[in-house]
Structures are given as structure tokens and as C-alpha cells.
Amino acid sequence: MRNPLSDTVVSIKPSGIRKFFDIVNEMEDAISLGVGEPDFDTPWHIRDEGIYAFEKGHTFYTSNSGLKELKQEICKYIERTQGVKYNFNKEVIVTVGGSEAIDIALRAMVNPGDEVLIPEPSYVSYLPCTILAGAKPVIIDLKPENDFKLTAEEVLEKVTDKTKILILPFPNNPTGSTLKKEDLEKIAKVCIEKDLYVISDEIYGALTYDGNHVSIVTVNGMKERTVLINGFSKTYAMTGWRLGYALAPESILSQMLKIHQFAIMCAPTVSQYAAIEALKNGDADIEMMKKSYNQRRRFLLNAFKEMNIPCFEPHGAFYVFPCIKEFNMTSEEFATRFLQEEKVATVPGTAFGQSGEGFLRISYAYSLDTLRIAMDKLNNFVTKLRQKAQ
């Protein structure tokens, strides 16, 4: 019999997060700080709208690009948060989560041999999606001394005449790092000079704690060369509804729409109805959740300070990324031992790229009570390690 498999797919490594997941599942009373989704329930008025959509029988396909009213509300949201106008009819597509948008954006834009710049540490799907689209991933290792921000110099260093796309994953999972308008302006300059397109994954945009999130599309000349990706999962605690969206110039978006049309048809209809309610009346929910995350963020940073574990101050998403190099272990060893000895699950930084070595991703999508217990346990663990080292 012939090998039934694609060499490309076989060559792709499974997600480093999943590997760790199996160990945690075996353990009964483990505390997890490992999730990448909000602990809040979807606000009731949004769920209620979903139920209502079921009751009214809104259970058919929508148009491929999504409900008109939803696309209009998405454009209004981007206009009120970023001050940038999009045409709801031609420049928006509703997708199955931000992840689908990443995939179809890459597939619509690259040709074999094109290079895609991927800053790491970052979300685990950019690299495999690039490979599956037939392009060549080129990693930019973000540096701890820059608080894991991407700099224009780092982009410039990796640009070749084959480079076509820069992935811009900020606010960043796993580091929580964010970019300011002035950082974006410098990066934009390089993109325009070198004629690069940008896929800007702004799924954590609403969760920014020092001022408001700024998108690269606000920089002159960038809207024309950017696919802006966002969604409802993190902003409104709607992960299981599987709903995201992309905004892009019509020439790119119409090609993305073709892939979406053939592979997906349309995003879940009931979710789309609920999402209209989220965009119309959900701003207060975002504020409430943001306030809560921010308190936990401060709590964790203070806990690390008291334990003398270095951690830069992240201003976005719901992760902190402390440095554990002091203990002379790989991230994976540290996370594994911490799990085995104290029963607390964290994710090794290397799950998000080699430049995450020496760091842990700790999620604060947990109640303060849980975080308090987990930090006590971390304190036990590092105290033990330090005593042994002496």
C-alpha cells in the first residue's frame, strides 16, 4: 500500500502545548495556569441573544462572508476603537475564530518560495499555517531585553527580496507584550520601504492595560497592506462560539473569501447573531473583564517581585512571562517538575518558539483565589530549588 500521507503535513510538529496537556489530564487535583481562554462566562445578554436566535429558527447558512448587520457592526467597532473606516460589503469577512482568518489570509497571499516573517515567541499556528500555504517561515527571535517587543531593526535584519509578509502578533500570546504607536510607525516604515504585507493578529487588542490598543492600520499607508484579524473569543469571552473576523483591502479579501467559501461555507449562524449583540451592547462587559484581569496582572507581578523572579511588565492579553533562567533548567524541565512536585500546570515558553527558552507562560484567566494558591506553591518550589543550589 502507498503511504497515504502528505509529506508536508507529516513534517509539521504537533503543538508543544498539547504534549503538556496529557500530563496535566492524568493528574487529579492539579491547579492549572495553562489556559488561553477567559474564565468569564460569555455575558448573559449575549448568550440570551444566541438562545433567541435558536428559538427564532436562525439555523441556516448565512452569506459566505457573514451577516450584513454583523459586518456593519464590526466596521463600526473598528471605527470607534481605531478611527479607521472599512467597507462592510467588500472589506470584511466573518470567520471561524481568528485562527481560520490567519490560515486563509496566508493561503490567499503567498506563492511558493515567498518568505513570511514570524516573530517568536508567539501563538503556535503561524508557523504551520505558513508551511501549509507553501511559503517559507522566517523566525524573528524577540528579545527579553526589549520586553519581547518587535523592533523595525529586527524586521530589517531578516528581510530578503523574497520576503512578502510580516506577521504582527500584538498584544502577544504568550508574553503579554504590546506595541505603541511609535513602535508601529517604525515597523510600518520598513514595511512600506520593503513592500511587505502585514497580517496583524489583534485578537487580544481589547485587553490592553496601559491606554488603548493601537492597530497598525492607523499608520498612514498601512491599511492598504494589512490584513487585520480580530475576533470575539478573548474580547467577549466567547471562545466556544468560534467566531472571528478579518478586515483587508478588497483585492486580498475577495481571494480569502474564495477559500472560506469552499472550505467553511460560513461561520456559525447562531454565533453571528449573538456577536451582533456583543458589539452593540458589550462595551461595559469588556471594561468589567479588563478591570478584573488588570488586578490579577498586578497581583502576579507583585508576587514575582516578592519571590525575586524577574518578569517584565506586560501590558496586554492575560499572560505574564516570568524568567526562570536562574534555576539552570530548561523551561520544559521547570514546568514538568513544578507540575509533578507542586501540581501546578504552566506552559513552558518553548511551546511558543525557541526564543521562549528560560521563560514560563502563566495565564491569569483564573480567579484571584486560584492565583493566590498557585503563587504560594511556586514560592515553595523556588525556595526548595534555591536551598538545594546553595
Binding site: R18, F21, S32, G34, V35, D39, K291, R298
Partner: protein, 159 residues
């Protein structure tokens, strides 16, 4: 700063000052002063504990009583309200718009005790026109906290 402090301690009055200062990114002494001021001004009226008595061996009966009264000239509802809230059995008392005037919530050891209070003390007040008593059978949610059943974290442990 007041609103921020209140929004935290409204849910957790047990929180210590040091942690509160960290959560709000404020100075501990400033927070202590602000809380002391709010206590003095009566903004903060008490620090109560939400208890699910069902889980204890203490027998308790709670009731809501709708009361219709005749307001008194020059005093409106205030003096009759005062007569009612001075009874230690009365848990809370609200002036209500709509079909009746006062809503009394009450806690007693038994049905008999509550009934006795209503028929003997409350209904016999001169200004009280009528009462309607509702016993509470089960508490699902109180003060924003769901007490009926705790939710389990359904999220995958790592994602």
C-alpha cells in the same frame, strides 16, 4: 479611588490592605485612610458575611412580607418604617413603588415564630392596612453570588 476600592471590597471584604493596594496599584496608607473616611461617612455601613444556612445545623426561616400602610401627615412613611425596622427580627426594610408600600424581610427560627411576628406585631400596628407573607423556599442567588450550585471549570487544563 473610592469606586475602585468599593468595587473590590463589595465582593470581598476580607481582602487585606496590602493586597488591595497591589490590585489597585495604589498606596496602602491612602487606601486605609479612604476606607476609614468611608466608614465615618456611612458609605461603608458594615462588613457582613454571606452564609448558606442550609448547610449548617441552624434552623432558619426567611420570609418576605408585603405591607400596605397609611402614610402619616408630615412624616410620610418614615415613622411607620422606624417602628417596623426596630424589631430585631426584621432583616431589611424597603419602601417600594407599586401595589404595596413596604417590603419587609424577616428571619425567624420557625414558621410559627414568623407567623407570630406578622399577626401579633406587624398587622396590629395602627397604620398597617394589610400584609401578605411569602416564605422563601430556596435561595439560588444572593448579593450577586450564586449559592445554589458551584460551577465547575470546564476549560481544558492547557490551551
Amino acid at each position: 479611588m473610592r469606586e475602585e476600592i468599593l468595587s473590590v471590597i463589595a465582593k470581598n471584604s476580607k481582602i487585606n490592605l496590602k493586597e488591595l493596594a497591589v490590585l489597585l496599584d495604589k498606596n496602602e496608607v491612602d487606601i486605609a485612610n479612604e476606607i476609614a473616611d468611608m466608614e465615618k461617612e456611612g458609605v461603608i455601613c458594615g462588613y457582613h458575611t454571606l452564609i448558606d444556612w442550609e448547610k449548617t445545623s441552624v434552623e432558619k426561616v426567611s420570609a418576605l412580607i408585603e405591607v400596605r400602610v397609611t402614610p402619616q401627615r408630615g412624616q410620610g412613611f418614615d415613622s411607620i418604617a422606624e417602628r417596623i425596622y426596630n424589631y430585631p427580627e426584621v432583616n431589611s426594610l424597603f419602601l417600594i413603588s407599586g401595589g404595596f408600600d413596604l417590603l419587609v424581610t424577616l428571619e425567624g427560627k420557625s414558621l410559627k415564630e414568623v407567623s407570630y411576628f406578622v399577626s401579633d406585631k406587624l398587622a396590629t400596628l395602627d397604620t398597617v392596612l394589610s400584609t401578605s407573607t411569602h416564605f422563601i423556599l430556596k435561595k439560588y442567588k444572593q448579593e450577586g453570588t450564586i449559592i445554589a450550585k458551584p460551577r465547575k471549570d470546564e476549560r481544558e487544563a492547557i490551551s
